[in-house]
């Protein structure tokens, strides 16, 4: 597992009265080479037409970034392909592409290509970092104006952030609360103040704060789409999930050692497993009768463990909720909700799956079986990776 985590998220508000955005944000991770590509594109105009332009641009920029092609060449292809606006006779969409790679050590390399969007900001801790991008004139045939790309190679170490936004943010408040709009400086000092107030603010919260601020400068009726994306490089938050008793009793002690030494949050899922851990750690187990729902048995409380739940029923409900991306607030106050909260606050989740065959239950209909446990954990991992972009790993004991 990586010792670095790249937290990427964005927030967006559409132009007042529009149901579709002219700002399009795309994000994907390529787990094979630890590459993340984010693209923000702003299409000419607003509404559907702008959305088509921006989506096309973002999609192409996105795809091309995963290819080894030279970026000026990619940019030319994008611009040659964009459809021409009937009224204005021009084809136009701005874009920013951040190609983020974590190769080794505690540093992340960013290849940043900007075309006509407000310049991105970089913060190292609370300090804003200034740099001069290299300018590349595309000199494209048939261009209706000079087309200059900005290209920068940046290094982000732990605690650094990259903030990218559309002109909906920099122009917020123009003609209303601020004659010239919020401007780059306004966004910079606001973001800086947010980081100062909460040095560990998540990308989600920071992006949200910037967009909301821009929206309020526009008196809650945005003149343009407002989009902000934040990349935050930090140490990963880890969680350990232990489920199922070890294959033989001799391994019980190993399991408990692994739990004890783990740095991060700890979840024990399964009644028998919890009893083993409680006995070997010499910490009493107490059922919490206030936290259950008709489908999910109560949680228990044990010192040193963040969450203790029943096994199969809880895990299968967790799998379903993660697969369906159910919002936490829609869930009843039970073990599933707590489990999912911990998952959402983690970047990396490690599962230790016990392989002891459960004693035969009297009722053959009860779904308590090792195969099921394995499948369940597989589903959980897939949902965490695909729907929540978490890193997961697993071992059997």
């Amino acid at each position: 597992m990586n010792d670095i985590f790249i937290d990427v998220d964005y927030a967006q508000i559409y132009k007042h009265g529009q149901k579709i955005g002219g700002d399009v944000f795309l994000l994907s991770r390529n787990p094979e080479n630890d590459q993340i590509v984010c693209t923000l594109s702003d299409g000419l105009g607003s509404g559907v037409k702008a959305n088509v332009l921006a989506s096309l641009t973002a999609r192409m920029a996105h795809k091309l970034s995963f290819s080894p092609m030279d970026l000026t060449h990619s940019a030319r292809i994008i611009m040659n392909t964009l459809p021409v606006c009937k009224e204005r006779k021009i084809s136009y969409a701005t874009f920013t592409i951040a190609d983020i790679r974590h190769e080794k050590g505690e540093e992340v390399r960013v290849n940043l290509v900007e075309y006509d969007n407000p310049s991105a900001l970089v913060f190292r801790g609370v300090n804003s970092y200034l740099w001069q991008p290299e300018r590349i004139d595309l000199e494209r045939e048939g261009a209706f104006k000079q087309e200059v790309l900005g290209h920068s190679q940046l290094k982000l170490s732990i605690g650094s952030r990259l903030v990218i936004f559309s002109d909906g943010a920099t122009q917020a408040g123009m003609g209303k609360s601020l004659p010239l709009g919020w401007r780059l400086e306004g966004v910079r000092s606001f973001a800086q103040a947010q980081i100062e107030a909460n040095p560990d603010i998540s990308s989600h919260d920071l992006a949200q704060a910037i967009v909301c601020r821009a929206h309020s400068l526009d008196r809650l009726s945005a003149k343009d789409d407002i989009t902000c994306m934040v990349v935050y490089v930090r140490k990963p938050r880890r969680t350990l999930v232990v489920t199922g008793p070890p294959f033989t009793v001799e391994h019980d002690q190993d399991l408990v050692e692994k739990i004890r030494l783990f740095e991060g949050k700890k979840i024990v899922s399964g009644g028998t497993t919890a009893q083993i851990v409680s006995r070997l750690l010499a910490k009493p187990l107490k059922v919490d009768m206030s936290c259950w729902s008709p489908q999910v048995p109560p949680c228990s409380i044990m010192e040193g463990i963040d969450l203790v739940t029943e096994g199969m029923l809880t895990l299968s409900k967790v799998a379903i909720a993660l697969e369906q991306k159910k919002p936490v607030r829609s869930l009843p106050n039970d073990a599933v909700r707590k489990f999912i909260q911990v998952m959402q606050e983690s970047d990396q989740v490690h599962f230790i799956v016990g392989t002891k065959i459960n004693e035969a239950h009297q009722d053959p209909n009860i779904p308590v079986e090792i195969g099921i446990r394995r499948t369940l954990i597989g589903r959980l991992r897939k949902a965490l990776e695909d729907n929540y972009l978490k890193e997961t790993s697993q071992e059997y004991i």
């Binding site: 107490k286 919490d288 009768m289 048995p297 029943e310 029923l313 035969a360």
Partner: protein
């Protein structure tokens, strides 16, 4: 008259019991007589072991009342057993 011992009640919240009616027993605040409720110390426990006993004569859900394990528990049965225990 000396103070009466409270009755210790342990409701199994293990998987096997929970899915076979144990969940209904957890609503004890709603179906038990408040006087009876006042005379009991009710807590949850994970697996009392009954579900794993191949020779058991009864089936989940299990509840332990004052040290004795009872199976096939229902809300009615629990009301009756606890009333007896509290008023004994």
């Amino acid at each position: 008259m000396g103070k009466k011992e409270r009755v210790s009640v342990k409701i199994c919240v293990g998987t096997a019991c929970f899915v076979q009616g144990g969940a209904d027993l957890l609503l004890y605040n709603e179906f038990l007589d408040p006087v009876v409720l006042g005379g009991c110390d009710i807590e949850g426990v994970s697996c009392l072991g009954g579900c794993k006993d191949p020779n058991a004569k009864d089936r989940p859900p299990y509840v332990q009342i004052g040290g004795v394990i009872h199976g096939d528990m229902t809300q009615e049965k629990l009301c009756k057993l606890l009333a007896e225990a509290v008023h004994a």
